[in-house]
């Protein structure tokens, strides 16, 4: 059981199969969905996709970090980070599917 990496192309293909728009338009719509989500997050909005999860933006304060190589102290500037919380539905979905065929733990 080898892991695959799913990309935009797979998502566009799924939209193409499911909705029956042209391949080009399907790809443009996938992009448009990601863009709208990114825009909302950039405005500082939370994005809630029911039964999938919530993307939210968290403000981090300034703190002192350290260059691990030189041990030198460097200030880490305040910044905004994106946090994704999977919904219980998604967590359940993944666990039901992966719990049975456990082929060694890979972390």
């Amino acid at each position: 059981m080898t892991e695959q990496t799913i990309t935009r192309a797979h998502l566009s293909e799924a939209v193409y199969q499911e909705v029956g728009l042209s391949r080009n338009e399907s790809a443009a719509l996938v992009e448009s969905v990601l863009d709208e989500i990114a825009d909302a997050l950039t405005r500082g909005e939370m994005v809630k996709i029911s039964s999938f999860g919530t993307f939210s933006v968290r403000q981090k304060g300034q703190r002192v970090g350290r260059n691990p190589k030189t041990g030198q102290e460097v200030p880490i500037l305040p910044r905004r980070v994106l946090v994704f919380r999977a919904s219980h539905v998604l967590k359940g979905h993944i666990n039901n599917a992966l719990a049975a065929p456990s082929s060694g733990t890979s972390d």
Partner: protein, 103 residues
């Protein structure tokens, strides 16, 4: 923004599509991501971020109130790592591709 607001917004941008098609497009995208994760696959959306599944081994936990040992079963948790371009955008650094003006 909720999923239904996202659908409304996309319907506005695509007046030639039926709203039910827009709903199917949005649902298909998230369903595909969920299905991929359930297979243990990784979903990589350059510039946006990557979804993957992290496995947690079975362990012995403790009831914090009673101190009693309890078995916690192995589980898998979905994980999202923000893409570089989106991370930069959140912090007001436009990447060349989308930068318009530095005003």
């Amino acid at each position: 923004m909720t999923k239904s607001e996202l659908i409304l917004r996309l319907a506005e941008l695509n007046p030639h599509l039926f709203q039910r098609d827009v709903e199917r497009i949005v649902s298909t995208i998230f369903d595909e991501v969920a299905k991929a994760l359930a297979r243990g696959d990784r979903v990589e959306l350059r510039g946006f971020g990557a979804f993957s599944v992290k496995r947690r081994a079975q362990r012995t936990g403790r009831n914090p109130r009673t101190g009693e040992a309890v078995d916690v079963a192995a589980k898998a948790i979905p994980y999202f790592k923000t893409g570089k371009q989106l991370r930069d955008r959140l912090n007001g650094e436009e990447t060349p591709e989308t930068a318009d003006d530095k005003a």
